[in-house]
Subunit: 176 residues, 2 copies
């Protein structure tokens, strides 16, 4: 603990992409807490354009793992959250604000998961049109809604480790 | 504390947009820690397309406050971080991945600030072309780099309070 400024910094620096999960399932209460954490993120003009789909059905996740690029970890995930965004609700109905707001919620979910000893990952849907169309069809998501990502979740087996990505060369002072 | 699952949840749920700051300045060490927290965020294919500009010059911030929409809080902020993104470095050189990655870093900075008793806000630059061009000119940012936001920072006066944004109607189970 002493190497971090506080527990939030510890969570931020220990978050990692987790691809291997044990069979232990996540309680419904904790899954709801993860989504609640997502909803605490800021949004442009407080529009809160996000929507969330909580998935516990292993068949759904295994099907996705076999069909979506970079989603093999859905094979062992015990749950998943699909973070969606609604451009109609976003600031100026602008797609970029819709994506930014749902991204902020997603980072809260990833950090909240890490803080609970859970692991997660970001499986990209938008801006991959094929993936967006596939997931819309599988989950019955309306055309007006954009699924941004799938976050596979579970208790990590411990095989993934943190990367140190600090790079002082990309910090500028006062001007570029 | 007891109302939160842990300190990370406390930080997530207490983060708010802060617009009023005291005159107490933030140490260079803590500003660097905020940027380091930003660099701990995930990025698509680990491309880390972000760049950061730390500003402590009150004249710069006051000038921006007078020129940029929704940026009045830069008048009393003691520091600011401009989070930029480099689409050339992003996954597939795709602008959306560049924006998503820098957004993830920004949420880490906002949460790290809250955890230290600091306040921040998201002043949008991209996708507002006028604001992007203005800040590029003022800070000497190359055309290839997109400034995503300015995060005004400082010690809050305490006049802002958290909003409860929990909305069970936008949570779906298994399918939309």
């Amino acid at each position: 603990m002493s190497e971090y400024l506080n527990d939030t910094f510890k969570t931020i620096h220990n978050r990692k992409t987790v691809r291997h999960f044990t069979e232990q399932t996540i309680s419904d209460e904790l899954l709801l807490e993860l989504v609640k954490a997502g909803m605490a993120a800021p949004t442009a003009l407080n529009t809160q354009p996000w929507e969330f789909i909580i998935i516990n059905d292993k068949n759904t996740m295994k099907k996705f793992a076999g069909s979506l690029q970079f989603s093999k970890m859905l094979d062992s995930a015990t749950s998943a959250i699909v973070v969606c965004t609604n451009p109609e609700k976003a600031n100026g109905k602008h797609m970029d604000f819709a994506v930014i707001d749902a991204t902020l919620a997603s980072e809260n979910i990833l950090l909240a998961a890490e803080s609970l000893g859970l692991g997660g990952a970001w499986v990209a849907l938008h801006p991959k049109d094929v993936a967006v169309t596939y997931i819309r069809g599988e989950l019955g998501i309306p055309e007006s809604i954009v699924p941004l990502n799938i976050i596979p979740l579970g208790y990590p087996t411990g095989s993934e480790h943190v990367k140190d990505k600090f790079n002082p060369d990309i910090i500028h002072y006062e001007k570029w």
